[in-house]
Symmetry: none
Subunit: 232 residues, 2 copies
Amino acid sequence: MLSTPELLLIEDDPGIRRFLRASLAAGQYRLCECETGQDGLAQAAARQPELIILDLGLPDMDGVALIRQVRSWSQIPIIVLSAQGQESVKIAALDAGADDFVSKPFAVGELTARIRAALRRSAGLPGGGQIFRAGRIEVDLDKRVVLADGEEVHLTPIEFKLLRVLVRHAGRVITQRQLLNEVWGPHHMEQAHYLRVYMAQLRRKLEVEPARPRHFLTEPGVGYRLVGDLAC
Amino acid sequence: MLSTPELLLIEDDPGIRRFLRASLAAGQYRLCECETGQDGLAQAAARQPELIILDLGLPDMDGVALIRQVRSWSQIPIIVLSAQGQESVKIAALDAGADDFVSKPFAVGELTARIRAALRRSAGLPGGGQIFRAGRIEVDLDKRVVLADGEEVHLTPIEFKLLRVLVRHAGRVITQRQLLNEVWGPHHMEQAHYLRVYMAQLRRKLEVEPARPRHFLTEPGVGYRLVGDLAC
DNA sequence: CCGCTTTCTTGATACTTTCTTGATGCCGAT
DNA sequence: ATCGGCATCAAGAAAGTATCAAGAAAGCGG
């Protein structure tokens, strides 16, 4: 069960890495660590973490450039750490797309509070559980639980990721590229076949008549759309 | 957004108010100022600003409590200012629902960068979906959904592309070449036949009397025009 | 560390929708 | 009447989609 959020830490200083590993990985979050910007970019694309903590002063590339690259395909929250508290650096990072900026030395408590704030925002929820309903289907994104006719339905990690994206955009059409990007990452945006396999899987598990879907609708040539009771 | 974003400033210190008024109200934003927490809450509810800047050290009420109250009904971004840089205060404010925390004394450049970051984020989510209406027709370009008499109408990719161009230029005549260019690309600008086929399709699906179109009008020798209720 | 189970990836095939294209008829203008 | 621009219908071609299934990979428990 992958319920704890995964954070990606991009930081070259081993001391700080150890420090944050101790502070963050202790139950609350899973932590994935990188030492270089290149590796960080690759990991961000491959693992699709829920949040990125980025040290601006990397040896191999400019931190602001890294932010821009990530922002070219994703809205993952990025919290920047930096030894330089210079105002111009902060502005550059924030305007490049960073969500928050923390100067070193920092207090862990504050950092974790800012992480919570960023995750809360990106979840799009006040913190209390929002439940999506569509006919006999019930989805609780927080608890990571899906019910059909009140019965719990087991979903694999990818199935749930896909469902989550659909639920978050419920009512509107999502393009195949967008789904592929958000579920498999930017390197798989041509593998539309994955989408078909997993959409069929979701329908098989959640639709009454998988062959005649009432909620997981296909928009041929475009993408898919999840229609539920709460229409916006 | 058509007009400049409105910010609500809740701050008892007249000096800082004057300072921020000078920095923020100069063209970029509209600024609404309050001296007390009570007034701030009232203004937040009444004016629905796009962002709140809140001084934690208000004379009449606890800032953290104010954050909680606002959060009980709204997700407006809140940036906290505070003279106390104490970690526990920051954590309390962020966990109460604040989006960001800036300690005094602060640099305007950083504050405005953080404001931009917060506004950018909040702009992304709810979707400023403007809906085009024309008689019984309703077009939501964001959701990619079209209704006629409240009933959903399915459009193929090309049909929707064509409709989108028409909606974006609603009220004006669009030449055939322009439509062909925007829908099929610059290599098909001579295929006026495509246009006739698909325009007929749109009329068949959306007009009450396809033979006597009321909204999808032909301008002989020139192109087409979509007339609706909201002109822009 | 190994074997077992679950999940992911990939391929093959049948099926559906959509696009393109040609034929035909209408209407107004010359 | 004839011609050019427009509307409509229809059918084959092309593109896109659903589903099954099996080997590969990854995760889990002992």
